[in-house]
């Protein structure tokens, strides 16, 4: 889901940086108000977890690969704004140090994976687990559903961003300048492979860790006051 350099035109890249700037600003302000100093190590672990889980490329035999983001779990534990910051740090390091995701596409990649994903995941988890006891199975199911839906929403946005490029930029002869595949192909490919395979990886990872924490550290699952 890491859009590389050259797949999005300058207008799209600029637009997503412009969209992310106020989101990053809001995230800093809100986290500054709510994050306690003793939660900082958890935030670091969350960012590191997201970074390393994205290295676990899952193959579709004979086809492409994909991966979980781990961001829904971070959002459940620390709230969507803190998760936004944690995932952004992971994505920036991946782009700058490892060329995983383009530097011109950091805005777009952060919008998909550090904004859409943790917010969709967080609120879906909150809605499904509403009033459920900390140790209830409904929380595990809520975590799984949130992981599945959130990763797929992020993939859908990625597909749309890819797919808009042939409409926005092409030569006089109709050759693509950036991503050559239109909405029908890009959205179908991104949505299809995440609905079929990769969404389940995020679902299982999120649900399993929530289940583990119910047993070993239930206090982490308690309400954090909308951090």
């Amino acid at each position: 889901m890491h859009i590389p350099d050259g797949y999005l035109g300058p207008a799209t890249c600029g637009a997503f940086y412009a969209v992310m700037l106020p989101i990053w600003t809001a995230a800093s302000k809100i986290v500054k108000k709510t994050l306690k100093a003793k939660q900082v190590p958890m935030l670091a672990i969350g960012a590191a977890f997201s970074f390393v889980i994205m290295m676990f490329n899952v193959p579709i035999p004979g086809g492409s690969t994909g991966h979980a983001v781990g961001g829904v779990l971070v959002a459940i534990l620390l709230g969507p704004w803190a998760a936004c910051i944690a995932i952004t740090v992971a994505l920036v390091v991946q782009a700058l140090l490892f060329g995983d995701g383009g530097i011109t596409a950091i805005g777009a990649n952060c919008f998909n994976m550090a904004f859409v994903l943790p917010f969709v995941g967080y609120y879906l988890y909150k809605a499904i687990s509403f009033n459920a006891p900390i140790d209830s199975n409904r929380r595990v199911i809520a975590a799984g559903v949130a992981g599945y839906v959130a990763l797929n929403m992020a993939a859908l946005f990625t597909g749309i961003e890819f797919g808009l490029q042939p409409l926005l930029h092409h030569t006089a002869t109709g050759q693509a300048l950036y991503c050559p595949y239109g909405l029908n192909v890009a959205v179908a490919a991104m949505a299809g492979e995440h609905l079929l395979i990769f969404g389940w990886v995020e679902a299982i990872v999120t649900a399993l860790v929530v289940k583990y924490l119910q047993k070993h550290s239930p206090e982490l699952l308690e309400e954090k006051g909308g951090l």
Partner: protein, 110 residues
Amino acid sequence: MKIITKLWIGLGVLIVLSPLGLLLPERFKAGAAWGEWGAEEIKELIGYVPKGLEKFSSIWSAPIPDYAFKGWEQKGMGQLSFAYIISAIVGICLVILIVLLLGRLLSRRK
């Protein structure tokens, strides 16, 4: 053991297991992620390299491209797995350092 210690250990286990993310795609003959092809792959797919893509695709030269050391492209899976683990360690250390710095700036003292 405190939960935070267990989570650090879990992170260490993930680092050691990370080469699975390299070996499984190799084993099942899976290529690049959709939309993350190099210029050569895209030429095979559609017959040409889009002009803008060609221009911008090499705008940034990452120090550890694709979690492998430069010049190691032809190395075997064993060495690439080693590079993958080192990449995970370097990446995680940097991520943690940045978050701790941000945390100092952003968190409440009490």
